[in-house]
């Protein structure tokens, strides 16, 4: 009935040593205390930890002391337990293992004591000191990073690249309205993007799109239609080719010239970058003279800047030599700018006027100067005189119509709502104040010839004469009240709107159209087809709205600079309505200034106006103002003019309307 205890311990030189002893006692005290039967040098073991008692019948009693933790065959004991040793018992306490088996002698119990753990935990030098032990390996991180970046920024966008403009986006495209009643310069109608969802290939963008194109930000394929091919003009023109703004068609973009003509002239282009591009571009899938050559996108708010004078002069300085058939004169610089050309009516009769381009002459009134036949008889000098009967008439009627001491330009010429040009002069608004068409006063009711429709006027008059009879029974309106002196009354033949020929209706009718009649004074009358007929024809009057078709001229800018009309237009001395009173490039006689009087190219002297090519011309010359002028150039110009009041750079349509009403109260 003894315990055979075998204790295995590690040798200092390596390996193990087993000590065996026999303890002939019925029970065995196991613990850390030095007086225990089995001493376990383990700090996790209590001083008195376990009591083993040898029981008859090959059984032992395993008793943890003072609730010490003892594990028997893998289960924590919660109290004393009696078990058979035959099958072998495994008891663990702390870092020690006790294996109990039946001893060789009957009734003995063999106890094998082993240490399960090293006394001091083994420490691997590399694990402790090298940072690599605490980090994922650099190689792993490198591969993960590589895979993540390629996956997110290459594969994902690539698989989701492309796409085309949808109908919804086409509708959302900003539309450019040109030449509408409220504005003669194109303005964008803003539209919000309809589809703002993120697309993976947006991560490939090299920068934000310009504001008009921002709605395409998540639709790369709208412009980049083919992989590894630069954006082609077709993509631009798919929107920018509309002759009229409309659904999905946003602007008129006029070709500067055909590509073959551009190529004939362009080798004069300066600059290393252009040469490099010209040399390399075709081999790198970059066609020359494409839209994108000038219009770089993904540059944020920057839009294409106005072309520099050198850019223009590169081709235009010596164009005649490169393109012998061009109708354009060479324009090497502003100082050597060719004479302006105006589109004028050629005077041919017909329902629609015909225009031809003629070179202006600095002296607007010289016999060599071009003439324009609008069909109207109108001497400017007579109407603008400060001392004649017209002036007297203006003074008399001034209270009613707002005239001054004599007629002024603005009494007949009212600016259009944009301020750029003038509205057509109208008989009813501007002429009839003086040139009345009343021919009879019937108790205060004025019978009036209808203007603008000779046949109707004739019919009205014929009916009147049939009913009333021709002779002097008609009381003539008192023309004297308009204040004409008798000599002038005769001269302008205003006394009688209709000269009555008693007893002859046809003669009275014909007199309206004949010299001295109401129509003849202002209009060109033809007919009759045979003597005695009354089939007179009045030639329609066409007023030219715009003369300088290739350049931009804005009256409001010049008005803002306080320039009187007479400084540019020789109207006060013009006796013939056919005089073309358009100022030319240089000054004319009589104090008439031409453009170069104030405008002095891109680098003006003091008191002169900066005017690069782009201030009047745009590369894609459309009907509107060049971008340079739209961008508030007028404000810049005004600042250069000392003493000139600063105009608001872009007066609203309403402001301009107000201005017009103030200048033409006679309306």
């Amino acid at each position: 009935m003894a315990f055979i205890v075998k204790q295995i311990s590690a040798r200092a030189t390596g390996g193990t040593i087993t000590r065996s002893r026999t303890i002939d006692q019925p029970s065995l005290m196991v613990g850390r205390a030095a007086d225990s039967d089995v001493v376990l040098e383990d700090l996790a073991v209590r001083l008195q930890h376990l009591k083993l008692a040898n029981l008859p019948g090959g059984r032992v009693r395993v008793e943890p002391l003072d609730r010490a933790a003892v594990n028997l065959n893998g289960k924590l004991l919660d109290g004393p337990r009696e078990v058979a040793t035959a099958a072998g018992l495994a008891i663990t306490l702390g870092g020690q293992k006790l294996t109990l088996t039946a001893g060789e002698a009957h009734g003995d119990v063999a106890v094998l004591v082993e240490r399960l753990e090293e006394l001091s935990p083994a420490r691997d030098e590399r694990q402790i000191f090298a940072l690599g032990a605490a980090m994922p390996s650099r190689r792993t991180m490198a591969w993960i990073g590589l895979a993540l970046v390629l996956g997110i920024f290459l594969a994902w966008p690539l698989l989701n690249s492309g796409g085309a403009r949808t109908d919804a986006q086409a509708t959302a495209a900003p539309t450019l309205s040109v030449g509408q009643s409220t504005s003669s310069s194109p303005r964008f109608v803003t539209a919000a993007p309809t589809n703002a969802a993120f697309k993976p290939d947006e991560t490939w963008t090299s920068g934000p799109l310009s504001a008009p194109h921002a709605f395409l930000s998540n639709n790369c394929g709208a412009c980049h239609t083919k992989a590894f091919q630069s954006v082609r003009d077709e993509q631009c023109l798919s929107c920018h080719a509309g002759a009229q703004a409309g659904r999905g068609k946003s602007a008129i973009l006029k070709d500067h010239a055909s590509a073959d003509r551009l190529l004939k002239v362009h080798p004069k282009m300066p600059g290393f970058a252009q040469k490099l591009r010209a040399a390399v571009g075709p081999h790198m899938n970059l066609p020359q003279w494409s839209c994108t050559g000038c219009h770089r996108e993904h540059e944020g708010a920057i839009t294409t800047p106005a072309s520099s004078d050198q850019f223009c002069a590169g081709c235009h300085a010596n164009m005649k030599a490169q393109l012998p058939d061009t109708r354009l004169a060479n324009a090497p610089s502003w100082e050597q700018h060719p004479q302006l050309h105006a589109m004028v009516q050629d005077g041919s009769a017909g329902p629609q006027p015909r225009f031809t381009s003629v070179a202006l002459v600095n002296d607007q009134l010289s016999p060599a100067a071009p003439k324009e036949d609008s069909g109207l008889k109108f001497p400017h000098d007579v109407h603008l005189s400060r001392s004649n009967g017209v002036a007297q008439m203006a003074r008399t009627l001034g209270a009613k119509y707002g005239y001054g001491q004599s007629l002024a330009c603005a009494d007949c010429h009212s600016v259009d709502p944009t301020g750029v040009r003038f509205q057509p002069v109208s008989m009813e608004k501007h002429c009839e104040g003086c040139h009345r068409l009343e021919f009879a006063d019937e108790n205060g009711v004025m019978r009036t010839l209808r203007h603008g429709d000779p046949q109707q006027a004739l019919a009205d008059l014929r009916d009147y004469l049939r009913v009333r009879g021709v002779p002097g029974a008609i009381v003539q309106p008192d023309r004297a009240r308009v204040g004409l002196a008798s000599s002038e009354r005769a001269a302008v033949r205003q006394r009688d709107t209709v000269r009555m020929y008693p007893g002859s209706v046809p003669r009275t009718l014909a007199a309206v159209f004949e010299k001295g009649g109401a129509c003849y004074d202002c209009h060109e009358v033809s007919g009759p087809s045979k003597p005695g007929a009354i089939d007179y024809k009045v030639r329609p009057v066409h007023q030219t709205e715009r003369y300088l078709m290739r350049g931009w001229f804005d009256h409001s800018d010049h008005n803002a600079a306080n320039m009187p009309c007479q400084s540019c237009h020789a109207a006060e001395r013009s006796h013939d309505s056919r005089d073309l009173l358009i100022p030319a490039i240089a000054d004319g006689p009589g104090g008439i200034t031409g453009c170069q009087h104030c405008h002095a190219g891109a680098h003006p002297a003091r008191n002169q106006v900066a005017s690069p090519c782009a201030s009047c011309h745009s590369y894609h010359a459309g009907p509107g103002a060049p971008a340079y002028s739209r961008a508030g150039a007028s404000a810049k110009i005004a600042r250069k003019q000392p003493g000139a009041p600063a105009p608001s750079p872009q007066p609203s349509a309403q402001q301009r309307q107000t201005a017009r009403l103030q200048t033409t109260p006679a309306a």
Partner: protein
């Protein structure tokens, strides 16, 4: 040969290799790039898509690929003109020149896109490299000063020796106190995660707790028969704490010395991937 002997004996770091040859060459490269950028009139504004931009970008990508080959090159140490030292010197100075070349290539246009990602990764690689150069210049001295001739193995052996002594000294202690000492032996924290290494502090270390609690007990029981036994244990714990501090300081300096490579190398690979995506996308959406 006399010259090779002279070079072998006189230490010349990679920073001042051959009288700052690569510093000068990089400075010339930077000056050329800045001058080109400043003088070229590109329309409508400088960016990576102009001829200046493409030129700078090509120089940049070639430099990056060459610089990344240092990892391959350093595994083959050769003397001579293209020694590893020369290569490292060029790596550092040409790498620094990329700050200018890369930034000019962007034309100062940045955004949330793959292009700026590549730029950001490049700057991360360069900045971590700058840190590395500074670390290599300053930290080895600190490392050497700290360990005072001790090897890492010796530090661990000292701790293990103290553990054995502690074990022996604590054998007569009652269970609760023995457990604290056992905690010091079993739950000593050395090393640990990145931040624990960089901070040099391990507040959850079993030794700190044992020292604190047994020290308090010793104060309470001073003069009692147990105090001699306790004070022996506490003195051992204190010595162990000092040994641990030395080792932790060593680990901290080593972590500072090595951490940049864990940014520099993986970021380089991510950068190469981003560069690939950058170049591909530019020409895909030409």
């Amino acid at each position: 040969m006399a010259t090779s002997y002279a070079r072998a004996t006189e230490h010349e770091g990679f920073m001042r290799h051959r009288g700052y040859r690569w510093l000068k060459l990089s400075a010339i490269l930077i000056a050329l790039c800045i001058a080109t950028y400043a003088m070229a009139d590109v329309q409508p504004r400088p960016n990576g898509g102009t001829w200046v931009g493409y030129t700078l970008g090509t120089i940049g990508v070639l430099l990056i690929l060459w610089l990344s080959l240092l990892g391959v090159r350093k595994r083959a140490i050769t003397p001579g003109k293209w020694s590893l030292k020369a290569w490292t010197s060029a790596h550092v100075y040409l790498g620094l020149s990329l700050i200018v070349i890369g930034t000019l290539h962007t034309g100062f246009q940045f955004g949330w896109n793959v292009h700026t990602l590549a730029y950001g990764l490049m700057m991360l690689v360069i900045l971590s490299g700058i840190y590395g150069v500074i670390a290599y210049d300053t930290l080895p001295r600190a490392l050497s000063d700290n360990r005072s001739e001790m090897t890492q193995r010796q530090m661990l052996d000292a701790i293990a020796g103290l553990d054995r002594q502690l074990h022996e000294a604590a054998l007569p202690l009652p269970a609760e106190e023995a457990e604290l000492v056992e905690g010091s032996i079993r739950r000593t924290r050395l090393g640990g995660g990145l931040f624990e290494r960089l901070s040099g502090r391990s507040p959850r270390c079993g030794n700190v707790r044992a020292l604190r609690e047994l020290g308090a007990r010793l104060d309470r029981e001073r003069g009692s028969p147990r105090s001699e036994m306790l004070s022996r244990v506490v003195a051992l714990l204190d010595r162990k704490e000092q040994a641990l501090e030395l080792a932790r300081r060593h680990i901290q300096i080593r972590a500072r010395l090595e951490v940049w490579l864990f940014v520099h190398v993986p970021a380089t690979f991510a950068l190469i991937a981003a560069l690939g995506a950058h170049i591909f996308s530019v020409f895909y959406y030409w």
